[in-house]
Amino acid sequence: MKHFYLDKYSYLDSPVHRIRPVIKIVASFAFLIYVIISPEKWWNYSIGFLGLLFLIFISKIPFSFVVKRTMVILPFLILVIIFIPFFNENGIKIAGLTFIKSFLSIITLILLTSTTKFSELLRALSSLGVPRIIILILSFMYRYFFVLVDELEKMLRAVKLRSFKNNRFKTFSILANIVGVLFIRSYERSERVYNAMSMRGFDGEIKKL
């Protein structure tokens, strides 16, 4: 089965895609820091926002995709800032600023991750000195995310095909079972993956990607 959930648009070709990943990472984080510590002026953020819009435009990533991605994170952001006005004198202003700053940061990161292939991102992070163990964990996460989603989809389909009554309590207990089975399967798979790794000379020491 094919999935395009994570880096769907990283296979496009555009000037933004062609920038070296290391430079992209450094530039993104520099911009993030700037957004966080910059003077609180509206033109400051508008220029940043327009810049990001321009980059999204030339990178050929559909705006709808960026909006959808932002929507995923927005609820968490709102949950964080919603209480600020109750505890501060300038609460509304601070909440607004936090919102704008976070919003710009989110778009920056979406731009970075959707214009860079994940494996290149990891390689760049590793050359920037991120510990190998973290790189390996991230790479396993990326690799097996899709396998797990596949397994989950298969199980959900099997449930759908065999359940005739819609009983909410029952559904929850079935979901709990599915999570349990998914956990056991992942555990067993991890053993098999470890076998495959040790058959290919892995001895606990992580070589450079």
Binding site: L122, F146, V193, A196, M197, K207, L209
Partner: protein, 238 residues
């Protein structure tokens, strides 16, 4: 010298299930040797034992070297194990890193590795797939990349667990041709008897952890009663 010599191999799973009950056989150098049997016969367990991945009783010698905790690292350099599920075999974010994983761990010189990877991918007919992610590959392609990940280590013995399971007819035929092209000692586990006739010189028949027969491929596969008594059937075309 024999490539593999197994004597009186026993294995019991932690829950008490006895999976191997005194299996003995030997495999000659450069021979393709198949282990056949119904589901649950102990075929995969046998492969895992040969790789030293599970504890066992009895003796396994690989190129005259006894398999034990001390020799295991040395011995594994000669073994290329391809698991049945390519999602277990391919664990890196892209094809290049996966094929290069073995050679890097074995300490091949850095400048040779990209050449080795290219060569291995060429052998399996997937030249130019270096930057692809495993989850963007078809099942047949994943199977072939799995083979490339061990071919890049230049193993003397290939161990393949059900290499043709779940493949469509064309991918299956191509995979069989690929196996015929690769020259080294091969142990194939499976119940795709058509594939086994096309690839193997000798066969070991297992059932319920016991050795039922060992011999020339055709001698055993032509014995209809023997096969049917052990849960196997020859495809109609034979």
């Amino acid at each position: 010298m024999k490539a593999i010599e197994v004597e009186d191999l026993h294995h019991t799973y932690l829950d008490g299930t006895i999976s191997l009950k005194g299996v003995s056989f030997s495999v000659k150098v450069n021979e393709t040797f198949s282990v056949i049997g119904p589901n649950g016969a102990g075929k995969t367990t046998l492969l895992l034992a040969l790789c030293g991945l599970i504890p066992f009783k009895g003796s396994i010698k690989i190129f005259d070297q006894v398999l034990n905790n001390r020799s295991i690292k040395e011995i594994r350099k000669n073994l290329g194990f391809v698991s049945q599920d390519p999602d277990d075999q391919l664990f890196m974010p892209n094809v290049y890193d996966d094929v290069a994983f073995g050679p890097k761990n074995l300490g091949f010189p850095e400048e040779e590795i990209s050449e080795i990877v290219k060569e291995a991918l060429q052998v399996v007919g997937l030249a130019g797939f270096e930057t692809r992610s495993p989850h963007h590959l078809s099942f047949g392609e994943k199977k072939r990349v799995s083979l490339a990940t061990v071919l890049s280590m230049k193993p003397k013995i290939l161990l393949l667990d059900e290499p043709t399971s779940n493949l469509d007819p064309r991918s299956r035929r191509e995979f069989i041709e690929l196996l015929q092209r690769v020259k080294c000692t091969k142990i194939i586990v499976g119940h795709d008897l058509d594939m086994i006739v096309k690839t193997s010189q000798r066969v070991l028949l297992l059932n319920e952890g016991k050795k039922i027969a060992e011999g020339e491929t055709l001698d055993i596969l032509k014995n209809k009663e023997l096969l049917e008594a052990n849960g196997l059937e020859l495809p109609g075309s034979f």
